[in-house]
């Protein structure tokens, strides 16, 4: 069976959270390739395939932390959703923040959804699995060439 792969861009500066997310996504039913960058500037360079990211694969889904070095996640989200080419890529904001202003503002900026990262390990894993299940198996992502065939 010819199986397609879902490409994910994780924008996250905590190595611990990166490793956890990688582990969870590796075990998914749907084949996926998770790439990470650790700051906001790299996130945008990756999406624009600039410099060292010239060969970057366009992601089908972006997981975006808010508190990032170099360029804040809020500014990254704003740029993505203002770009006619990139705006359609779903962005899951995944952050330690549970501040109401952040929640409202990110939805105003067209974040597709906002998730507060749990501190508890088991809950973090549950959340990561839920993201995977929902966005890979339930939702239709906006790029059919990367859609896996359903088994």
């Amino acid at each position: 069976m010819n199986e397609k792969v879902i490409n994910i861009l994780l924008v996250e500066d905590s190595m611990g959270d990166i490793r956890l997310t990688q582990e969870v996504f590796k075990e998914g039913k749907i084949r996926n390739d998770l790439v990470y960058v650790k700051n906001g500037e790299d996130a945008l360079a990756y999406l624009h395939r600039e410099g060292k990211f010239a060969d970057a694969v366009r992601p089908d889904l972006i997981l975006l932390d808010l508190n990032l070095p170099r360029k804040d996640g809020r500014a990254v989200l704003d740029e993505i959703k203002s770009d006619s080419d990139l705006a359609r890529i779903p962005v899951v904001v995944l952050t330690t923040s549970s501040a109401e202003e952040d929640i409202q503002r990110m939805y105003d900026l067209h974040a597709n959804c906002f998730i507060t990262k749990p501190f508890d390990l088991d809950k973090f894993i549950t959340v990561a699995k839920s993201i995977q299940d929902f966005w890979f198996s339930i939702v239709k992502l906006p790029n059919s060439t990367n859609q896996p065939f359903k088994t």
Partner: protein, 148 residues
Amino acid sequence: MSFQDFGKSIDILLVEDNPGDIRLTQEAFKEGKVFNNLHVVNDGEEAVEFLYQRGKYKDVPRPDLILLDLNLPKLDGRAVLAEIKADTDLRRIPVVILTTSKAEEDILRTYDLHANCYITKPIELEEFINIVHNIENFWLSIVKLPKA
């Protein structure tokens, strides 16, 4: 287990003209873990009236989540989506497109219009219920919704 903090129950607006789908969705949401109120309108014009709390809808709550079919009488779901996402007050409400269409143009166009996610309704009954349970679990228990 819910990651959502809320003092009240969640209000959901279902914009759907198919009575069978409405019934199924109502049943599935009733079985959910999170206390919710499902409001139903049957066409795009009613959806807009509801959201702007006009006329007979002047006392309705602002929904926390919208489930939106695309092929609707009176005003198309795509037009309803465009209106919601252009309005400074309404745009933050997450819109889950729930439609029979799997057309690539529909998928791309609705994401361009800032639909929060796009789901094709399964034809099979059990799959349909499963999808609605998944929507309920993800949007009501995992995600933080903006305060209405």
